[in-house]
């Protein structure tokens, strides 16, 4: 005999679940309770529609659903990620973002090379007079076809600016290949949630882009453009990558609203 709608097998089950689900994060507990109640009532309704008495229908729904002792540990296991798994996910995502970052630097090296060809070494680097020591000058002049030490230093540093970036870009491609290989071996999504990586990437590339743009503009104003190219070659690439990640992030937020 049921006096109150909740004085029923399903009502008592939900009371037990409420108690046990306190170990879960509050929202997860609330959602689990709501979903379980809807499920059990649907299941009991379906049985009653087939002619089963309400009490038996509820007992049948509970038997098919499983015990609270079975359900809550499964849910709790889900919310508790092993440290090793988390470390693996961070490493995986760091590899991917590192590879994209390095390739972005490589692309900026190509742009810097173009600026070098158009504007000369002066446009992508500056050499402080403090480094123009006789020893350094002798080394630079022996390596570069230049008429004076300053020109030789500029050529050397410009060469380093372009080629070190291009080398980093190649390293980025290799890192990306390594990441793909690791991911295939791990069979599946082994990185952090895409919404997390996209947020980190969008922020990192936006900050890098704005920072280098600021340095470039500063060089244009303060140093009459000397060395501005080293920053202005990086800024548009970083901002373009940031824009790609922002677009992906906006799409994900629309697709998977943050709870």
């Amino acid at each position: 005999m049921m006096n109150h709608p909740d004085d029923s097998p399903i009502g008592f089950y939900l009371d037990d679940l409420f108690q046990a689900a306190r170990a879960l994060p509050p929202r997860d507990a609330r959602y689990l309770l709501a979903e379980t109640e809807a499920h059990l009532r649907d299941s009991a309704d379906a049985a009653m529609a087939g002619g089963v008495q309400p009490y038996e229908a509820e007992l049948g729904a509970l038997a098919a659903f499983g015990t609270v002792d079975d359900l809550v540990p499964r849910e709790s296991q889900r919310t508790r990620m092993p440290l090793r798994t988390l470390a693996g996910q961070i490493l995986n995502s760091a590899m991917l973002l590192g590879a994209i970052g390095a390739m972005t630097v490589g692309a900026s090296g190509a742009v810097a090379g173009l600026i070098y060809l158009i504007g000369g070494a002066n446009s992508i680097t500056t050499v402080p007079s403090a480094v123009l020591t006789p020893q350094n000058c002798a080394r630079w002049l022996s390596q570069q076809a230049a008429t004076n030490c300053h020109q030789a230093a500029l050529s050397d540093w410009a060469f380093e600016t372009v080629y070190s970036r291009l080398a980093l870009g190649v390293a980025g491609v290799l890192l990306l290949i390594a990441h793909r290989y690791c991911k295939r071996r791990q069979r599946g999504n082994s990185g952090l949630k895409p919404i997390v990586t996209d947020t980190v990437a969008a922020l990192a590339f936006a900050v890098a882009g704005l920072w280098t743009a600021g340095l470039g503009v500063d060089a244009m104003i303060v140093s009459e453009g000397q060395g501005a190219g080293q920053w202005l070659s990086a800024a548009p690439i970083a901002l373009a990558v940031a824009a790609v990640y922002c677009t992906r992030l906006a799409k994900r937020i629309r697709e998977e609203p943050i709870r």
């Binding site: 709501a34 499920h39 889900r78 999504n189």
Partner: protein, 113 residues
Amino acid sequence: MSADKVKGHLDLLLLAILSTDPGHGYAVITQLRERTDGLLDLTEGAVYPALHRLEDLGFLASEWHPVNGRRRRLYRLTSSGHSALARQRTEWQSLARAIGNVVSSSLAGTAEA
């Protein structure tokens, strides 16, 4: 078929069922039962932690909707979920083919003997 045998393939089954239409947990269980002619004996409650885990992985997205007077959480596949389904489906087909080859050859051997 026991729940243990289903366990390793539950993600694939859930993704496959939700790939056609969004659905809530009870509808997923009903679909699973109908499509397998009741062959898969699964504890119904086990579906929810699995759905929540797939959502954590970004394979599913969910929203609350009133359906037939009850508030239900509807799950649907995201683009990552569709990719995961395609990947897991390929893996499953390879596994089924490999096991099928072994079992068929042993059957043929038994018949010959």
